[in-house]
């Protein structure tokens, strides 16, 4: 049961983050949601939502997508080799953890 509860919690959290990302992409909606959240008062959920919606001032300067290709086949030979080494190491770790 605790495992199920944790999974459910994680699921809700990820879903909430996705929803927040959507809201952040729509300025008017974001303004509306932040106003509503402020009116709801301060608790851990509203604080979480509010912080996420107003964290733009601290968003990273770099556009990571500029550097990261969509597909492994577009990696440079060296990055590709490092990726494979990392992948193998993670697979080994996953096997050990089983």
């Amino acid at each position: 049961m605790p495992a199920l509860k944790n999974s459910l919690k994680q699921f809700v959290k990820v879903g909430l983050l996705m929803a927040l990302n959507f809201v952040k992409g729509h300025p008017k909606l974001r303004l509306y949601v932040t106003t509503v959240v402020r009116k709801l008062g301060s608790n851990s959920v509203t604080r979480f939502v509010y912080t996420h919606l107003t964290m733009d001032a601290y968003s990273p300067v770099i556009n990571f997508n500029y550097f990261i290709p969509k597909d492994v086949s577009h990696l440079t030979p060296r990055a590709s080799q490092i990726y494979l080494d990392l992948k193998k190491a993670i697979e080994r770790l996953q096997q050990e953890n089983r």
Binding site: A57, Y58, P60, I62, F64, L75, I82, A89
Partner: protein, 864 residues
């Protein structure tokens, strides 16, 4: 000792513009001004590219750029996103491996509390290290107000992790005695492990200034300030106690409120303005309060100088930098008596009870009404500031490091001057393996997703070279030669210099490379290398180029599309420590737009702007270098890192260039005809700027009066020359006295040079004038238009003319023929000229910075 300083405190958007950012920059600059016998390296996080450029600019001249090292991190690991926990762990391992790889004796983190909002990993000893960790903890405000700042479980866990990092640190620094006391009480570390290194202000910047009335009026009008004003600058957190400041302002007598404004400076305040405005509206003072948002240092200093009173009502501070800055600028300061502020302000009568808005209002009113009180506050501030200087703080910090170093030496536990490898997390000589091994030491690594693994792989590939300890390389971008293979003059230059440099270059390995527009990766130009070295085709691979700090990329070809599409790449490479230069052949499209089609002029301007993103430019003559400097001064804003402008001269050396061989069927017949008479040669693409129209008209006049002279025009038809080309093709003298030869081989051109008696260079503008050098090499005379670059190249070894009319040139040719008959024409034989080998050597000398500022070969300037 070697100090490695983690500069993320001056990089993250969260800290960069706050006290932490100022502390980091101020203290590190002071350390660099007098590092004693310590070596200092700065470590920067590649996730904050904009800050890297700014930091490199700030430290220009204080620290060699190679001592500024960047670890690349192309993935988010901010703790606010709990689902990125595995990325955060990978980032911490990567950072520590990078820092250890710099062989530090001390790793100094100027703020461990980074990484909640930003992808800024900070950790202490998650990997074994021989270095001592020194950490600054600016305050423990979240521990003082846990219900306010640590209510959420995620932030509590993150903050506790940071506090644990502080506990693990060998040296803990803080910024005031008050903070030290709180750290000892709340973090639970012994008092002797915590040292106070005070914040300070840059006294050269933050000082009293005479602000002209024009400047004052413009600034105040721009910010919406119309009355004498009280000033606050800083953050908007709850402990800043701003609501009481508003209440106190509202309590001021009506005439004071009406005659004064309250000016609130700060980035956060601006973004949260609507919250503040609601409070102000309720108090009925919203019309008297101005929110400026972020203002740069220059404006901030002006505001400090202009304000009537600076008020700082904070309930809690680690130090309280804004009041100190205000005092340095001669502002009267009243501040809260809480936390560290009495230490900073020093004068009891300048303090008020921050929990009592009546007391705040009373102090403000007293200061606003009483000039003598304000003067006392002002004089106190100026005297007080003298005891806070970054040089003192840096000196105290170095004393501390020296003491620790000596202690370790005495106990024979020295890390000093002993470079060891780390065995348990992997050998640091193999940092990529060490990072992977390090990441795998925690089970959370199993949660890394393919996209995260790709990002980590790219970050590591970009941070560490595959060839460990390889020497620096000079990469020559020859994309246009590889892609278009036109026989333009520029491509002749590129091929000739590549030929020399690839075969033999002392001091640095030279690799020709190319790129594709929109791809942003560079590849070795295998075919060109094989051609130069005489290898069989496909011997050299077109392998992917890996740039390392210390390398140089020289955009040698003129390929505007490549330079323009690579602006971000150029910025990235420079941030990484690669020096990027462009070769500038001329500025003709911006100087003489009438000679070029509009699209080209626009593209050229865009290209020049792209050039300005590099470290500098190498021009093919001093004239072009001066013209470029003038253009940049006029068109590009100033920047902190110098834009270096150097110049070199082109060579001429037919026998040692890569020659295009071959003679046309009638070639020898033409050569015979030219050699048998007085033949004048014109070399260059046919276009309006080159003056061929004037030359032909002049020769028509000479032929009309029966003079027996030949005119040979060598060059392809260029832009805007259709009518002239048709005229040449249908000219009655064509084939007898007039010759137009297109698409000529190097071999044929050389033979034509030897069969002519004089070169006519009538261009109205040129970058260099290579035909002049070629003429001198073939010992034929020169008639040249009197323009600066021809004077630079030919000096007294040419016969010059002025004027755009045919008669001017007709007269010049006649005079020249008369002088020739008397043996008095200026000879080109002794004209100073370079072979391509010498030209390449000159280029390398400038590129490698052997020509220092002040020498004629290198023009330094500060432009953006």
């Amino acid at each position: 000792m070697r100090l490695v300083i983690d500069m993320q405190g001056a990089q993250t958007p969260f800290s960069r513009y706050r006290g932490v950012g100022r502390y980091t920059m101020g203290l590190v600059k002071a350390l660099l001004r007098d590092p004693r016998d310590h070596e200092i390296y700065l470590a920067l996080n590649g996730a904050f590219q904009d800050a890297i450029d700014a930091i490199r600019g700030e430290f220009e001249g204080l620290l060699p750029q190679e001592n500024i090292c960047v670890w690349q991190q192309f993935y988010d690991c901010s703790a606010i996103n709990p689902h990125l926990a595995q990325g955060k762990w990978a980032a911490e391992v990567s950072r520590e491996t990078f820092l250890n790889n710099l062989n530090p004796d001390i790793i100094f983190s100027t703020n461990l509390q980074e990484g909640w909002y930003d992808p800024a990993p900070t950790s202490v000893k998650v990997l074994p290290s021989h270095a001592l960790f020194c950490t600054t903890l600016h305050d423990v405000i979240p521990l003082v107000y846990p219900e306010r700042y640590l209510a959420a479980q995620a932030i509590r866990a993150w903050y506790n992790e940071k506090i644990e990092g502080v506990r693990k640190s060998d040296i803990i620094l803080t910024v005031s005695e008050h903070s030290k006391k709180e750290i000892v009480d709340l973090v639970g570390v012994p008092s002797d492990r915590v040292a106070v290194i005070y914040n300070a202000v840059d006294s050269l910047k933050f000082k009293q200034r005479n602000i002209s009335s024009d400047r004052r009026d413009a600034l105040l009008a721009y910010l919406g300030i119309s009355s004498p004003f009280l000033l606050y600058s800083g953050g908007g957190d709850a402990h800043k106690n701003l609501h009481r400041l508003y209440q106190a302002f509202a309590r001021l007598p009506l005439e004071l409120r009406k005659s004064h404004q309250l000016v609130m400076v700060g980035k956060e305040l601006h973004s949260e303005q609507n919250i503040h405005q609601r409070i102000l509206k309720k108090l009925g003072i919203n019309a008297s309060v101005v929110f400026t948002g972020y203002v740069d240092d220059d404006d901030l200093i002006s505001l400090y100088n202009l304000c009537k009173l600076f008020v700082f009502p904070s309930l809690h501070e680690g130090f309280g930098l804004p009041p100190l800055e205000a005092m340095a600028c001669g502002a009267p300061v009243v501040a809260s008596q809480a936390a560290s502020l009495p230490e900073v302000v020093g004068l009891k009568e300048a303090l008020f009870d921050p929990y009592d808005e009546i007391d705040i209002a009373r102090k403000m009113e007293c200061a606003l009404r009483d000039f003598k009180f304000r003067e006392r506050l002002r004089l106190n501030g100026i005297a007080r500031v003298a005891s806070f200087s970054w040089d003192n703080s840096a000196s105290k910090l170095l004393d501390l490091f020296d003491m620790v170093g000596n202690k370790l030496k005495k106990n024979n536990v020295s890390v000093v001057n002993e470079r060891l490898t780390i065995s348990s997390a992997g050998d640091i000589s193999e940092p990529v393996s060490a990072v992977i091994k390090g990441i795998m030491t925690r089970p959370i690594a199993a949660q890394l997703k393919p996209q995260e693994m790709m990002a980590i792989a790219i970050s590591l590939a970009e941070t560490y070279s595959a060839e460990t300890g390889r020497s620096r390389k000079l990469f020559l971008d020859v994309s246009a030669v590889i892609k278009t293979r036109d026989c333009t003059g520029i491509q002749r230059v590129v091929r000739a210099i590549c030929y020399e440099l690839v075969r033999d270059c002392k001091g640095i390995e030279v690799v020709p490379v190319y790129t594709n527009i929109d791809e942003h990766e560079f590849y070795q130009a295998g075919l060109l290398i094989d051609n130069i070295l005489g290898n069989l085709a496909d011997t050299t691979e077109n392998s992917h180029i890996e740039f390392c700090s210390g390398d140089i990329l020289l955009y040698f070809d003129l390929h505007p599309g490549v330079a323009i599409s690579n602006i971000d790449k150029t910025r990235y490479l420079r941030n990484k420590g690669v020096t990027v230069y462009h070769v500038v052949y001329d500025l003709l499209p911006v100087q003489y737009p009438q000679y070029f089609w509009p699209g080209l002029c626009d593209e050229f301007v865009t290209w020049l702007k792209a050039v300005s993103y590099a470290d500098g430019a190498l021009c093919i003559s001093r004239t072009v270098a001066l013209e470029l400097r003038q253009w940049l001064d006029t068109n590009i804003p100033r920047r902190k890192r110098p834009f270096k402008i150097g110049w070199f001269h082109l060579g001429a050396d037919f026998e040692n260039s890569i020659l295009f061989l071959g003679m046309p069927p009638d070639g020898y017949d033409t050569i015979g005809k030219l050699a048998s008479g007085s033949s004048f040669l014109v070399v260059g693409t046919i276009e309006p700027r080159k003056g061929q129209v004037q030359i032909l008209a002049a020769f028509e006049q000479l032929w009309a009066v029966g003079m027996d002279v030949n005119l040979v025009i060598v060059g392809k038809k260029g832009w805007g020359s259709k009518n002239f080309a048709n005229k040449l093709l249908s000219h009655p003298q064509r084939g007898s006295r007039l010759y137009w030869i297109e698409g000529i081989s190097d071999e044929y051109l050389e033979k034509i040079y030897t069969s002519c008696i004089c070169l006519i260079a009538a261009s109205e503008a040129e970058g260099f004038g290579l035909p002049l050098i070629e003429a001198a090499q073939h010992k034929i005379s020169i008639i040249a238009r009197d323009i600066p670059v021809f004077r630079e190249v030919a000096g007294d070894h040419a016969f010059y003319f002025n004027g755009r009319e045919p008669q001017a040139l007709t007269k010049a040719v006649r005079q020249w023929l008369e002088l020739d008959s008397q043996g008095k024409v200026p000879k080109s034989d002794n004209m100073p000229r370079l072979t391509w080998k010498q030209s390449a050597e000159q280029l390398i000398k400038v590129v490698l910075g052997l020509s220092q500022r002040g020498e004629t070969q290198f023009l330094d300037q500060y432009v953006n």
